[in-house]
Structures are given as structure tokens and as C-alpha cells.
Amino acid sequence: MRILVVEDDAGIAEGLAANLRQRGYAVDLCESVEGGWSALCRERFDALILDLGLVDGDGAQLLQRLRALPLSQGSAKAPLPDSALPVLIITARDEVEQRIAGLDTGADDYLVKPFDFNELDARLRALLRRSAGRAQPMVRHGDIVLDPAARTVCRADRLVDISPREFAILLVLLEARGRVLSRAQLEERLYSWNAAVESNAIEVHIHHLRRKLGATLIQTMRGVGYFIPKDEAR
């Protein structure tokens, strides 16, 4: 899962990034409205964490611009930026009117500083879950159960040892069940701009996942990419 953090305070931005990366998210940082907008126009993100008081204006301006775009169909090839992108506002403005204004502008959630990172993570997971159209916190596929909160994967009720990156790939593929994701798309969802990505990194992670969860779970479409078929298609 790839998260864009738009925050002008270096301490908060880097603290958020470090914590998010520890939880397996790919994180990109911007410190201004314009920087955030150009990032959204260039790359695909799964969620946006947005501060309101930015160096060149109010984060709400960025949110308004985003929400003013026509709604994309949610396909991988939808135009950028995605106007339905889940947005979590983090701000020091704690008055009820300000929260209401923030939510009315189009934010999906609103978190007042200072906050515990675990709470932010839980809210982010809820946003991502809603964005993926899931009501349940667990992702189930056959005998595989993936818990985004605990970042664990069970197969036939047995815990499977899985690395954060493998977990992220599995989650992305499960969220996009039935759709083929190219290697580039997977890299885009899993790595931030400045992350060093080995050319065969995705293949290696897929290979490990197949070994741990069964060779038939992840299908390869030669020359296109990878996908997990929907349950009912089996």
C-alpha cells in the first residue's frame, strides 16, 4: 500500500514515514500543496495523509482540487489523480467547526495532533478497507486469512511467516482480486520514489508467496502481470 504524506513539518513527516514503513507501507513525502498535487498527478496512491497548515497554503485547497475532479471508475488505468482517494487529515485545529469543515471539504477522516501512531494506523486501515469495498477487517480468500491490523497471514488456521513486503504484495493482489496487476503497477503501489528496487524484486516476492501459500494462489499472465482469481471463479 502506497501512502502520500503531505506535511510541512519535517519531524512529523519523517516520524510518520518511519512508522508507516515499519508497518509495510510505501511512503512518499511532500511539504506543500503544489508538491502534493504534482505527486498525485504523477503517481497512484492508496491513501493521502494531509496536513492543513502547509507552507504554501491550506491543505484543504489540495483536498478541494482533488474532490472537484470527476469520479474515476477505480480501474488501474483510471486518470490521475484519483478523486476518490481516501484522505486522512492530520491537523492541530481541534475546534468542532474546523473538524466539520475538514470533513465537509471531502476528508474521509480527521485526526487532531498529537496522536498515537497506532490510532492513525487503525484509521488508515479502516479507510483502505472502505476504499476496497470491504466491511470486514480481515481479508479472506479460500483458506487464507490476512489480518491488516496485525499484519499476519494464516493458511488453514496456521500462521504463515511472511515478510512485510510479501504481506504488502499479497494484500494488494487480494484487494484487486480478479484483476491483473503488472510488475510496474505493483512496484508503484509498493515502493516510494526514492526506494531502490531490484529489477526482479517483485518476482522474488511472488515466488516466496507461492512457496508459503501454495503455487496456485497467484497466477501469472505472461507478458502482462500477476493476479489472484476470485474465489467463485475457482
Binding site: G11, A18, A92
Partner: protein, 455 residues
């Protein structure tokens, strides 16, 4: 607001009481004058009546002839009363020698030698007051005296006075009621204005609108609205300040929380060092915000009555610039002071130093490296040459600050503090226009030698 009780002072009640009091006073005067007039008129009428009867009798031929002494005739008058105002007159007729020739009525005999004309006399075995009129005929052969009991005359007077007073008696309650209604109706615009004032909500940027545009209310409505605007501005300013403080304080705290949470996980040594550096910097930053808050509290503390003394503004500017030399050098910035050798003014040195420090810090914090920062101070060239000014200018580009943006409008806590210090010195803090190469100037214009509020 507590509900008004009957014992609370009421304008309506006061007006009603005063009006009724005035009305009763006027009415009492009217009653008194009416009574006086009634009595006087009754006296006049009675006297006129006595004289008329006397003249009438002197012209009657049926009276006993002169020199003919007869037993005086006494007419009986009982049962002959036909009108409320019919008076029981008594008549005495004498001949020239004083012999009572004729009499009528129940008045006692009057002395013959009584003075001619009107008189009030006491007569009878039990002395009673009588009003009498005596007159000789033209030949001076007969003398007539007509008498009326004074009680009868007074009864007439009271009756006339009563007739005059009576309409007032039933008019008084009617007038009182009408007066009450008129006052109530007349005060209605005031009551509505009072309700409108009570219903005002300062928080909601309301303004007072009088439903009745009476010119007497113009100044009141204008004054209330002026106060309201000031109150709303003060509230908005407090809200902005609270928001600014929240932002300034919560940001480093959030950073500290996130960095410590990141440290809980296994970070590489480089990331750990960076996290610890952030924690240290953010802790200092939070401490700095607390210092600012303390300064703010100090500048707001009861007008800071103490601490007024002669301050050399130029010297203060040089001292502040010297303190930030190291910080500026680390950023490759340049700090300079442009001022006369000495610029004395009356002020609070501690607060002025806080204000100057904030301006310099803002210039250091919100501009790119390599910025030139100048503290300038001097005297105004206009009429009031004694008034001083100080400004901090820089040539650094400040992101997110438009030229027209008002000072202390949620920009920085530091500016809020400067604005308060300026207000304490009856000075104006504003963003000033600046000549190239400077891009930003924040200036304090002092009034002519601000007075020490402590006296």
C-alpha cells in the same frame, strides 16, 4: 440572565408612577381650586341674593305704613321648600326709629344699629354665624336686613365645589388607564430593542438591528454595534491565537510522539540518530513555544503596569542582533542594524526585547538560507519627530505569506506577541512596504513617547 422580578427596578413602572403622581398632583390642585372657586362663587351668589331680596323688599308697597306700629309678622316657611338651591332667607324690616315692623324666617333679631351693607354676625341665644345685608330705603324711613345662616351658604358652596370636582373623580382612573396604555405603547420600541440586545449572540457575528428606526436609538444601536464588532474581533483574535498556540505546540509534540514510536521498532543506527535529533529539536521547539506563551502572558498581564522606563531602542536593537549572530551565521544569513547612536523612548524594555526577538526569529525561521536581515529604527520625519519606529526587513522569499495578508492573522504566534507588545505601547504593528532588495518588512510605529500607564 436571571428572570426579572417585580421588585427589580422597572422603567415602565417608574414612568407610570411618575406620570400618575403628576396626574394626581394636578388633579389635587384642580380640586383645591375648584373648591375655592365654588366657595367664592357661592359667597358671591349668596351676597347677590341677599342684596336682591333687600332691594325687592324696599320696593314692596305692602309693607306696613310708616309710623304704624304692628306686631311683627313671622312667616312660617316649613313645607315651602321647592328646590335644592332654595335658601331659607330671613328678613327684618325696621322703621326709622328702630321699631321692628316686619320679619320673616327664623333668624334671630339683628341689632338695629348694625352697619349698613354686608356683615357676618353671631346672633341668637346659642350664637350662630349669619350672613346679613342691611340697607335703608331712599327716603331713609325703612331699613331692611336680609339674613342667611352661614351653614346653608357653606352647603351651597360645597355643593358647587362638589359638582365641579365630580367629573375629575371618575376621570382619574380612566386617565390613569389610558396613561398606562400610552406609556406601554410608547415604550414598546425600547422593550423590543432591549429584547434584541438580550438575544444578541456575540459568537455568531450578529449585529443589532432596531426594528423601529427611531432616531433616539441611532446612537445606542451604533454604540452597541461598535462594541459588538470589537468584542467579535477580540473573540476572533483569541480564537486565532488559541489555534496558533495549538498548532505551534502540537506540532513538535506530535513529532516527538511519532519519533519515539518509530524508535520502539528496530531502526538502523542512522535512522535512530536522525529520530533522536528530531526529538531533541522538537523538545527545544516546544520549550520555545512555552517561552513564547509565557512572554505572551507577561505582555497581557494586567497591562504590565510595572517596568516602564527610558529605553534606548537603538541599543536594544544592537543587543538583539548580537544575540542572533550565531544563529544567522549557521544559516549563512546576515544580520545588520541601521540606527542612530541612541534613540530614547519611554517603554517596557523586557517586552520590547521580546517583540524584537520575535521579529528577528521569524525572519530567521521563515526565510531561505543566505537571507539578509536588517533591524532598522529611527524617528518619524513627519510632524511628530519625537515618535520612533522600528522594523525588521529581510530579502528572503517567504512562502505562503501574501503581501496583503494582515499581521497576526494566524500567521505566527510570534507576530501575535509582537502585536500585543505594540498594543501595550499604544503602537501600531503592521507589515510595511519595503524598498528593494528587501521583500518583507514588519514594522512597529510608536506613538509619541508612550505614557507609562502606571503614571
Amino acid at each position: 440572565m436571571s428572570r426579572p422580578t417585580w421588585s427589580d427596578p422597572s422603567l415602565m413602572r417608574q414612568l407610570l408612577l411618575w406620570s400618575l403622581g403628576a396626574l394626581v398632583l394636578v388633579w389635587a390642585c384642580f380640586v383645591f381650586l375648584a373648591y375655592r372657586t365654588g366657595v367664592e362663587e357661592a359667597d358671591e351668589l349668596t351676597d347677590g341674593h341677599l342684596a336682591s331680596v333687600a332691594v325687592l323688599l324696599l320696593g314692596v308697597h305692602g309693607l306696613p305704613a310708616l309710623g304704624q306700629r304692628v306686631e311683627p309678622l313671622r312667616l312660617r316657611q316649613e313645607g315651602l321648600k321647592n328646590h335644592d338651591y332654595q335658601q331659607s332667607l330671613s328678613v327684618l324690616v325696621w322703621d326709622a326709629q328702630g321699631g321692628l315692623r316686619w320679619r320673616s324666617g327664623n333668624a334671630p333679631t339683628l341689632a338695629f344699629d348694625a352697619t349698613e351693607g354686608y356683615a357676618t354676625v353671631l346672633a341668637g341665644e346659642v350664637p350662630l354665624a349669619w350672613r346679613s345685608f342691611s340697607q335703608w330705603n331712599r327716603e331713609h324711613t325703612q331699613k331692611v336686613a336680609v339674613m342667611l345662616h352661614l351653614d346653608e351658604r357653606d352647603a351651597l358652596a360645597n355643593d358647587i365645589a362638589g359638582q365641579m370636582i365630580e367629573p375629575g373623580l371618575w376621570l382619574l382612573p380612566v386617565v390613569s388607564l389610558a396613561l398606562g396604555l400610552a406609556i406601554s405603547r410608547g415604550l414598546r420600541p425600547l422593550m423590543e430593542l432591549s429584547s434584541a440586545v438580550a438575544a444578541l449572540d456575540v459568537q455568531n457575528a450578529d449585529s443589532l438591528v432596531a426594528r423601529h428606526a427611531l432616531r433616539e436609538f441611532d446612537s445606542v444601536v451604533e454604540s452597541i454595534n461598535t462594541l459588538l464588532v470589537r468584542q467579535q474581533q477580540a473573540l476572533a483574535r483569541e480564537r486565532r491565537l488559541a489555534s496558533e498556540i495549538a498548532h505551534e505546540l502540537r506540532t513538535p509534540l506530535t513529532s516527538i510522539v511519532l519519533q519515539t514510536q518509530a524508535l520502539e521498532a528496530a531502526l538502523d543506527a542512522k535512522t535512530q540518530r536522525a529520530a533522536l535529533a528530531h526529538i531533541r529539536a522538537d523538545t527545544l521547539r516546544a520549550g520555545h513555544v512555552l517561552d513564547q506563551l509565557l512572554a505572551l502572558a507577561r505582555s497581557s498581564r494586567g497591562g504590565a503596569k510595572s517596568g516602564w522606563e527610558q529605553v534606548d531602542l537603538a541599543r536594544l536593537a544592537r543587543a538583539v542582533a548580537a544575540d542572533y549572530a550565531q544563529a544567522a551565521w549557521e544559516r549563512s544569513d546576515v544580520i545588520e542594524v541601521e540606527a542612530e547612536a541612541s534613540l530614547a523612548m519611554n517603554g517596557q524594555p523586557v517586552l520590547l526585547e521580546i517583540a524584537l526577538r520575535n521579529l528577528v526569529e521569524n525572519a530567521l525561521r521563515h526565510t531561505p538560507f543566505g537571507t539578509r536581515i536588517v533591524i532598522q529604527c529611527g524617528r518619524k520625519q513627519e510632524a511628530d519627530a519625537r515618535a520612533l519606529w522600528v522594523q525588521v526587513c529581510d530579502d528572503g522569499k517567504r512562502e505562503g505569506v501574501s503581501a496583503g495578508r494582515p499581521v497576526a492573522d494566524g500567521l505566527h504566534l510570534g507576530h501575535e506577541i509582537v502585536a500585543r507588545v505594540a498594543a501595550e505601547h499604544k503602537a501600531q504593528f503592521h507589515r510595511a512596504s519595503c524598498a528593494p532588495p528587501f521583500t518583507t518588512c514588519y514594522r512597529i510605529d510608536f506613538a509619541q513617547s508612550p505614557e507609562n500607564p502606571a503614571g
